[in-house]
C-alpha cells in the first residue's frame, strides 16, 4: 500500500527528470565537454569585454527593472490592503488581468505604441510639443517600460500577500500609543512588509534575468541580454558556448539571490522577533 502511494509520484518525477533535470545536466555537460573537456567556453566568455558587458548589463537591467517594479508595486499593494476586504479581490483582479496576456502580445503592443508613427509620437505631435517624431523604439527606455509593464503585477501580488499577513492590530496599537500615521507606517508596517518586498524584488530579478523577447523586439543593438545571446548562439549552432552562457546565467542568478538574502536577512529577522 505504501509502495502504491509512492508510485503516484512516478509520472511527475519522471517528467521533471526527463524534461528538466536531465536536460539542464546536458547543458552543463555540453558547456564543459564540447569539443573536449575544458573550460574554454567560460574562458572565452570572461576574457572578452564585449561578453562581460552583456553580462553586467543583464544584471543591471534585471536589478533596475525589479527596483522600478518595487517602487511602483509596493504603493499599489498598499492601496489594495487599505481598502475594505470586500473590495480587495476586484482590485487585485484588475492588476492580475494583464498578467494573462501573452508576453509576445504585450511586447508587440509596445512596438505599436512607441514606433515612429506610434501613438506616443502621434499625441506629442498633435499637441505641438514636438516637431519631428522621437526615437522611442529600439532604445533602452523601451526595454524598461515593456519589462516593467510585464512584471509589475507579480510585484503587486507578492507585496499584497505579505501585507495581508500583517496583524492590523499592531499598527492600531502604535497609533494608540501616540505614533503619527506616518511613524506607525514607518516603524511598524514597513519593517513587517519588507520581507514581502524583498521576495517580490527577488522573483522579478530572477524572471528578468531570463528575458529575451522584449530586448530582441524593442531594444537597440546595445540592449542585448544573456537570454538573447543564448538564443543567438543556438541559432549559430554553438551549443557548447550557449551552454556555458546558460550556466553563467543560472549560477549568477542563484549566487546573487543568496547574497541578497544574506544581506537583507540580517535586518529582516529583527522585526520578526519583535512580532513574536
Amino acid at each position: 500500500m505504501r509502495f502504491a502511494n509512492r508510485l503516484t509520484l512516478l509520472p511527475a518525477v519522471l517528467l521533471a527528470l526527463a524534461m528538466f533535470a536531465v536536460p539542464v545536466g546536458f547543458v552543463l555537460a555540453e558547456a564543459v565537454f564540447t569539443p573536449e573537456l575544458s573550460l574554454a567556453h567560460f574562458e572565452r566568455f570572461f576574457a572578452r569585454p564585449a561578453y562581460l558587458s552583456i553580462f553586467r548589463n543583464t544584471l543591471f537591467v534585471s536589478a533596475v527593472v525589479a527596483g522600478i517594479c518595487l517602487v511602483l508595486g509596493y504603493p499599489m499593494a498598499l492601496f489594495i490592503v487599505s481598502q475594505p476586504p470586500r473590495r480587495r479581490p476586484l482590485l487585485l483582479f484588475l492588476v492580475l488581468v494583464p498578467l494573462w496576456m501573452s508576453i509576445l502580445v504585450r511586447t508587440y503592443a509596445w512596438m505599436v505604441v512607441l514606433g515612429r508613427e506610434g501613438i506616443v509620437n502621434g499625441a506629442l505631435q498633435w499637441l505641438g510639443l514636438i516637431g519631428e517624431p522621437l526615437t522611442l523604439m529600439f532604445t533602452t527606455g523601451a526595454v524598461y517600460v515593456a519589462m516593467v509593464q510585464i512584471l509589475l503585477p507579480i510585484m503587486v501580488v507578492t507585496c499584497y500577500t505579505a501585507m495581508t499577513e500583517i496583524d492590523p492590530g499592531l499598527v492600531r496599537a502604535a497609533r494608540v500609543c501616540g505614533a503619527s500615521p506616518f511613524a506607525a507606517f514607518r516603524k511598524v508596517f514597513l519593517p513587517l512588509s519588507l520581507e514581502g518586498a524583498v521576495t517580490g524584488w527577488s522573483v522579478i530579478f530572477i524572471l528578468s534575468m531570463g528575458f529575451f523577447i522584449v530586448p530582441a523586439l524593442v531594444g537597440g543593438r546595445r540592449d542585448v541580454l544573456l537570454g538573447n545571446m543564448i538564443v543567438n548562439q543556438v541559432g549559430q549552432a554553438n551549443w557548447g558556448f550557449a551552454g556555458a552562457l546558460a550556466i553563467v546565467l543560472l549560477v549568477s542568478t542563484v549566487l546573487l539571490l543568496a547574497l541578497v538574502r544574506l544581506i537583507i536577512g540580517r535586518f529582516l529577522y529583527s522585526p520578526r522577533e519583535m512580532q513574536a
Binding site: N5, R6, L7, T8, L9, L10, P11, A12, V13, L15, A16, A18, M19, F20, A21, V22, P23, V24, G25, F26, L72, P75, M76, L78, F79, I80, P89, L91, L94, V95, V97, P98, W100, M101, S102, I103, L104, V105, R106, Y108, A109, M111, V112, V113, E117, G118, I119, Q149, L152, M209, G210, F212, L217, G227, I230, V234, A242, G243, A246, L249
Partner: protein, 262 residues
C-alpha cells in the same frame, strides 16, 4: 480627503499603465487601413479576415492548441497524482522532490529549452510534437503542484479514511472521497498549464524547425515587420485567455473558499 484621493489616483494610473497595451491593440485590430496607425482612419474586419483565411496562421494556431491541450492534460494528471504522492512521502524526501517538481518555474525557460534541444538532437527527436508536449508539460507541472497542492492540503483526510472504514478499496476511496473536492483545482491547474504551453516561445523555437507554433509564428513575423494581422490575433488571443483565466481563477478561489469553511 486629499490624502485618501491621492493613493487611489496613483493606483488607477498603475492599472491604466498595465492595461495600456491592450487598450491600444484591441481598437487597432478593427482598423480598415492597410497600414498601421493610431487612431485608425477607417474600421473593418480585414485583419481578422487575413488571419482566419491564412492557412499558415491557422496551422500554427491548431498546432499550439493541440500541443497545449495535451501538455496541460499530462501536467494536470501527473501533477495531481504527484501531489497525493508527495503528501505520503517521508518528510526527509519531501522537500527535495517538491523542489524538483517546482524548479522548472524558477529556472529560465531558455536554459530548459537549450537542454531539451541538446537532448532531442542526441535522440533525433527534434521537430517532434511529442517532445514539445512533454517539455511543455514539465514547465506546466509547477503550477499544477502549487494549485492542486494548496487545495489538497485543505481537504479533510478523514473523508478518505471514512470511505475506507465503510469498505471502499484504496482506489475507490481516493476516487470517491478525495478527488471530487479537488476537481475545481485540477481544472484550474489544467487551464494554467494549458496557457503556459500556449504562450511558450523559446522551447518551440529551438525544437520545432519546420512546424511553427503560434508564438513562433508571431515571433518570426515580428522580427521583420509590424504586421497588423498580429493585432487581430493578439486581441483574439487576449479575449480567449482572459475568459479562460477568469474561469480558472474563480474555480480556484471557490475551491479554496469552500474547503476553508469546513
Amino acid at each position: 480627503m486629499k490624502t485618501r484621493l491621492l493613493p487611489a489616483f496613483l493606483f488607477a494610473l498603475g492599472v491604466l499603465f498595465l492595461f495600456f497595451p491592450i487598450l491600444i491593440v484591441a481598437p487597432m485590430s478593427f482598423s480598415g487601413d492597410r497600414f498601421l496607425g493610431f487612431p485608425p482612419k477607417s474600421w473593418g474586419f480585414i485583419w481578422y479576415e487575413a488571419y482566419f483565411s491564412d492557412p499558415v496562421w491557422l496551422a500554427a494556431t491548431w498546432r499550439s492548441l493541440r500541443v497545449a491541450a495535451m501538455a496541460g492534460l499530462i501536467a494536470a494528471l501527473a501533477g495531481t497524482a504527484g501531489v497525493v504522492g508527495l503528501a505520503k512521502l517521508p518528510t526527509r524526501w519531501r522537500a527535495g522532490v517538491t523542489g524538483l517538481l517546482l524548479a522548472p518555474a524558477i529556472v529560465p525557460n531558455v536554459i530548459v529549452a537549450l537542454g531539451v534541444f541538446i537532448l532531442a538532437l542526441r535522440f533525433g527527436s527534434t521537430d517532434s510534437e511529442a517532445t514539445l508536449v512533454l517539455a511543455h508539460a514539465a514547465i506546466g507541472l509547477p503550477f499544477v503542484v502549487m494549485i492542486v497542492g494548496a487545495a489538497y492540503r485543505q481537504t479533510d483526510p478523514t473523508l478518505e479514511k471514512a470511505a475506507r472504514v465503510f469498505g471502499a478499496g484504496p482506489l475507490r476511496a481516493f476516487w470517491t472521497a478525495t478527488v471530487p473536492p479537488l476537481a475545481p483545482a485540477i481544472l484550474a491547474a489544467f487551464i494554467f498549464a494549458f496557457f503556459v504551453s500556449f504562450d511558450e516561445l523559446v522551447i518551440a523555437l529551438f525544437l520545432m524547425g519546420g512546424s511553427e507554433t503560434l508564438p513562433v509564428r508571431i515571433w518570426n513575423d515580428l522580427r521583420f515587420e509590424i504586421n497588423p494581422t498580429i493585432a487581430a490575433i493578439s486581441t483574439f488571443f487576449v479575449v480567449v485567455t482572459a475568459l479562460a483565466m477568469g474561469l480558472a481563477e474563480s474555480l480556484r478561489a471557490r475551491a479554496t473558499r469552500r474547503q476553508g469553511n469546513h
